[in-house]
């Protein structure tokens, strides 16, 4: 219960920081996604089998607040969760590498899904512009923030799992 409470509170805090602060940190038109980074780090560190429910709820909440269709963050976060299960088995000794790989993959997936939604909604845009001005800066910023987010979540896990913090 304490774990879910701590994860929930960190998620709410991340959302507030994202909407209030990090959405204004821009390189060209790309901005970091702190909530996505938190979800990735939590997925890499969690040990609960039912954690996917929390991931789904997080995706739903972000989808409700965001102007993007609600299913976009839900799909991205669930993909992150599934990928983290596979990565944890293969890269269990190097969680930071897993964090980088998932950040890279999830950011590209989230951006491509957003582009696809814009395309379906018939909103005119230039694909190369989206790639250069939004996707690449977002990937760079997310990779840059992946290290501190991973470290914070690791510390949170050390506090929550005092005896099993080898991850």
């Amino acid at each position: 219960m304490l774990i879910y409470l701590a994860y929930g509170m960190s998620f709410v805090l991340a959302m507030m920081l994202q909407y209030g602060v990090f959405s204004r940190w821009m390189i060209l038109s790309g901005s970091p996604d702190l909530v996505l980074l938190l979800v990735i780090a939590l997925c890499l560190h969690q040990k609960n089998r039912r954690f996917w429910i929390l991931v789904l709820i997080m995706g739903g909440v972000v989808g409700l607040v965001s102007a993007m269709p609600y299913f976009v963050p839900m799909i991205v976060y669930m993909a992150v969760y599934l990928a983290s299960l596979s990565l944890k088995q293969r890269l269990w000794q190097t969680p930071l590498l897993g964090m980088f790989l998932l950040t890279f993959g999830a950011t590209i997936l989230a951006n491509l899904l957003s582009i696809a939604v814009l395309f379906v909604q018939r909103i005119p845009f230039v694909f190369s512009e989206a790639l250069v001005n939004v996707l690449l800066p977002a990937v760079f910023l997310n990779m840059f923030l992946a290290i501190p987010v991973h470290a914070i979540v690791r510390e949170l896990n050390v506090w929550l799992y005092p005896q099993g913090a080898q991850v």
């Binding site: 994202q18 909407y19 209030g20 959405s23 204004r24 821009m26 060209l28 038109s29 790309g30 901005s31 996604d33 909530v35 972000v62 607040v65 965001s66 102007a67 993007m68 951006n111 957003s114 582009i115 814009l118 909604q121 909103i123 005119p124 845009f125 512009e129 989206a130 001005n133 939004v134 977002a138």
Partner: protein, 278 residues
């Protein structure tokens, strides 16, 4: 009869006379050189002793003084830091007050509308969309579709509302289209956003003479926005071969990157013409 001039009395009398004489001489200033001569070595000696004492005292006492000074310095630094933070808080309040005064001034100058002032509390999470979130919602009378302005010009319109917050679609959003009128050329067109936040002008008749710097106002067509709200200025115009309309880029009058407070026009009912679009 007792003898007054005993040797003892004579000695006392002489002593008194000598003392009184010395006092008289001293008061009258005759003894000043003599005093100076006799006191100056004493003063020198006193000075020497005093200097040595002070040096000695400094040598042993200064560490204590340094510690005290350091403590005082730390206290003063702390006080300065507190005062600086107070100054920053006051400056922020002042900036906020200036914004609100400007908004109030705008509302007074445009009495045909009713306004609700709101503070921007967040920006959209997706970098592909240009939306902001404000701290006023349906409890404050805000409804879907209401236009949003600042003292400078058009910001956007309400896209979603909850009880105490609302989401605004900015005119820079890729999905936003605003029907506009070019003030001097007196022609109509459309201003639309993009995923990068740039604003472009479209649907301007090919034969219209549009000058750079032309003022762009809302036309009121479509019923989404009230007419005559300042949108921006024309930066450049392009005419492609065989194109039916001219296009151009627009410099919005509102700086969306530093948007901190907005006014929602609450007495304007936006018309939803979506069902009429084939």
């Amino acid at each position: 009869m007792r003898n007054l001039f005993t040797p003892k009395n004579l000695r006392n009398l002489i002593l008194i006379i000598v003392i009184v004489g010395v006092l008289v001489l001293a008061i009258s200033g005759y003894l000043t050189p003599l005093f100076s001569l006799s006191v100056s070595p004493l003063i020198s000696a006193q000075s020497w002793i005093s200097e040595r004492y002070l040096a000695f005292s400094d040598f042993f006492g200064s560490p204590r003084d340094m510690a005290t000074l350091r403590e005082e310095n730390a206290l003063l630094r702390n006080e300065v830091a507190q005062l600086q933070s107070e100054i920053i808080a006051l400056q922020e309040n002042l900036a906020q007050a200036e914004i609100l005064y400007t908004l109030l001034d705008f509302a007074r100058n445009n009495p045909e509308h009713e306004y609700v002032a709101a503070t921007v509390i967040g920006r959209e999470i997706s970098p592909y969309l240009q939306y902001i979130i404000i701290d006023k919602g349906s409890n404050d009378g805000i409804r879907y579709g209401m236009p949003v302005v600042t003292q400078q010009g058009l910001v956007g319109r309400i896209d979603a509302v909850i009880s105490d917050a609302a989401r605004i679609q900015l005119i820079t959003d890729a999905g936003s289209v605003v029907n506009v009128r070019l003030k001097t050329a007196n022609v109509e067109g459309q201003v639309s956003g993009s995923i990068t936040g740039e604003v472009s002008l479209d649907m301007v008749p090919i034969d219209a003479q549009v000058e750079i710097g032309e003022v762009i106002l809302t036309s009121g067509l479509g019923g989404t926005y009230p007419p005559n709200i300042f949108v921006g200025q024309v930066l450049s115009m392009q005419t492609r071969q065989n194109a039916l309309f001219q296009t151009g880029s627009v410099q919005p009058i509102v700086d969306f990157s530093v948007l901190s407070a907005v006014l929602v026009i609450t007495n304007f009912d936006a018309v939803d013409i979506t069902p009429l679009i084939p």
